[in-house]
Amino acid sequence: MPYKIVASQCTNCTACEALCPNQAISEKGNTFVIDPDLCTECVGHFDDPQCVAICPIDNTCVIDSTLPRYAA
């Protein structure tokens, strides 16, 4: 359950939303957010977390270390 978007960094470019295999990402107010209950770190879908791979701003899609890692 662990990726999150750092709201102050997000440019609202929408790129991650379309790529997430779990539809975990949506627009909320002035930023995009990840639903921690839906995010699987892309495990079982792709080698790399898609939101991290496409995000134009470094360190914007990051592990939410307050939550436990996803276990398939």
């Binding site: 440019t11 609202n12 470019c13 929408t14 790129a15 379309a18 790529l19 792709f46 080698d47 790399d48 898609q50 991290v52 791979a53 496409i54 134009p56 701003i57």
Partner: protein, 522 residues
């Protein structure tokens, strides 16, 4: 690409609108080499040509397109709608917090529109401004990384306003996947930004590309990108879709290499090659801005454009406009058409009125060409003399702008073969609130320092004296007359003075390409 219907449409359109590639190549070849307007004795009819210079189908496609035809950009307008915010690559000259630098100038954030809002905006603008003939989707990201939004916008507009030409600009990575969809919506103009054909060079321009669900970096990233760009270009040419290539000139990185790029895109049927200067300043927040990578000077840019011109049509009138600019190129009217204002508007699309207006413009354009022809005699006296002049104009091919109000100057090269448009120089507004500012005048002098004269509709006494001192002759006696005709008349007088010994012809120095103006003018 989760949209299934689009996915289907894409496959079913694949057998449409395919023309024989050899046929197209032949036309491309034929339409080069006529050289009636070229300077340097080189063939360069291309974008500065008129109907007599190119095959009818190509002229039909470009004549109302301000981005492709240098003649048209004096008379017609285009607009962009920002429906495509996502991107699938990263360029070192782009700050993704702002718009795509491929087609817009960096540093200006535009609002994101839904396809419905975008099409309403286009129809509202087209109904208000009859010269609006081209709609482009160019960002803020890559249109083909947002295919759903891009093609839905095209669909909505083509239903109501089939006379509006559609175009898009792309980095090319996704292009091969969408060429058939592009053909289906009769998008007849596609711009691809190609900065390299060698991944060794490319890895210094592109830190990464997103490819098959992975982020690739370095050589590997640039290799995929160039392969996809070349394939996409070939596929466009096969289908008879005009392709324009944009290249960003980055001194020390790809400047020499762009000659190779020029050959590669020409051999694949590209119609136009537009070499733009890198716009780079630390405040843009781009990789190049922050690491001190400089942009080219005006002379360096022109030298490269000249070197490539022998091979192909070069486009020199690109102003790197922002993606949501409305109105004549350079003249930004987007304030009149904010989303709130548009959603309240009653839009009646008046195709008859638009047609009448466009016919009138056609007549005006013919008159301009005639006027110029009259001045072409007697230019042999120029011999090897070749010089640049700057012109203050609001459009329509006429000297109709006050020196103090000019936001940019058009640059023409005068030589024994006539007057050739070679580019623009943006300047800060010299006249702010009616009085001139010393520093601003300095800026202008630097921006047009390589010119022998500046043509204006009007100019104050003070700047006049200072320009003269800088060696740039201010010329106001051709106010409200046609640019080329006037420039040639002045040129002949100048040549007479040189011949009589009254003046000595001297080369002028280099000029600066304004960086800040691009950022602040919005």
């Amino acid at each position: 690409m989760t949209d299934l219907s689009l996915e289907n449409a894409r496959t079913s359109a694949s057998d449409e609108a395919v023309v024989d590639i050899s046929d197209v190549m032949q036309k491309m070849a034929e339409h080069k080499g006529c050289g009636t307007e070229g300077g340097d004795g080189k063939a360069s009819c291309g974008s500065s040509g008129g109907p007599e210079d190119m095959p009818a189908e190509i002229w039909e496609k470009v004549k109302n397109h301000p981005c492709y035809s240098e003649e048209a950009h004096h008379h017609y307008a285009r607009m962009h709608v920002a429906v495509a915010p996502a991107c699938n690559i990263q360029c070192n000259y782009c700050n993704r917090k702002y718009d795509c630098a491929n087609e817009s100038r960096p540093g200006v954030v535009s609002e994101r529109l839904t396809p419905e809002q975008a099409s309403k905006k286009v129809l509202a603008v087209a109904s208000t401004i009859p010269q609006m003939t081209v709609l482009g989707i160019a960002g803020p990201g890559d249109p083909l990384a947002n295919p759903k939004q891009t093609f839905e916008t095209f669909r909505l507009i083509s239903e109501v306003a089939p006379d509006i030409k559609l175009c898009l600009s792309t980095n090319g990575l996704a292009l091969p996947d969408w060429v058939d969809e592009i053909a289906k919506y009769k998008v007849d103009h596609v711009t691809i930004t190609i900065n390299m054909i060698d991944p060794e060079v490319g890895q210094h321009i592109y830190p990464w590309v997103f490819w098959e669900n992975k982020r690739l970096t370095g050589y590997e990233a640039a290799k995929i990108l160039t392969e996809r760009q070349m394939l996409g270009l070939e596929m466009l040419t096969e289908r008879g879709i005009l392709a324009k290539i944009n290249s960003v000139m980055i001194p020390g990185v790809n400047d020499k290499h762009l000659v190779e790029v020029n050959k590669a895109v020409k051999s694949r049927g590209a119609f136009l090659h537009n070499i733009m200067p890198l716009i780079s300043a630390p405040e843009h927040g781009t990789v190049f801005g922050l690491n001190g990578q400089r942009g080219p000077s005006a002379q360096e840019l022109k030298a490269l454009q000249d070197e490539c011109e022998g091979d192909m049509n070069m486009m020199r009138h690109c102003r790197q406009c922002r993606a949501d600019a409305v109105g004549l190129l350079g003249e930004d009217r987007s304030e009149e058409f904010t989303t709130d204002k548009i959603m309240e508007m009653e839009v009646n699309y008046d195709s008859e009125g638009r047609k009448a207006y466009q016919q009138a413009v056609e007549a005006e354009r013919q008159a301009k060409v005639e006027a110029k022809k009259g001045e072409l005699d007697g230019l042999e006296a120029a011999g090897d003399i070749k010089l640049l002049v700057a012109v203050a104009t609001k459009g329509h091919g006429i000297i109709n702008e006050h020196f103090g109000h000019a936001k940019e100057f058009q640059i023409y090269e005068l030589s024994s073969s006539g007057a050739k448009f070679v580019g623009h120089r943006r300047v800060d507004l010299y006249c702010q609130g009616g009085y001139g500012e010393e520093d601003a005048l300095d800026t202008i002098t630097r921006a047009i320092n390589d010119c022998h004269a500046v043509f204006v509709a009007k100019i104050g006494g003070c700047p006049k004296a200072e320009l003269a001192e800088a060696g740039i002759e201010p010329v106001d006696q051709y106010a409200h007359d046609y640019i080329e005709k006037s420039a040639l008349a002045w040129f002949k007088e100048y040549l007479a003075k040189v011949a009589s010994g009254e003046v000595t012809h001297e080369q002028r120095g280099d000029a600066a390409i304004r960086q800040g103006a691009l950022l602040n003018a919005g």
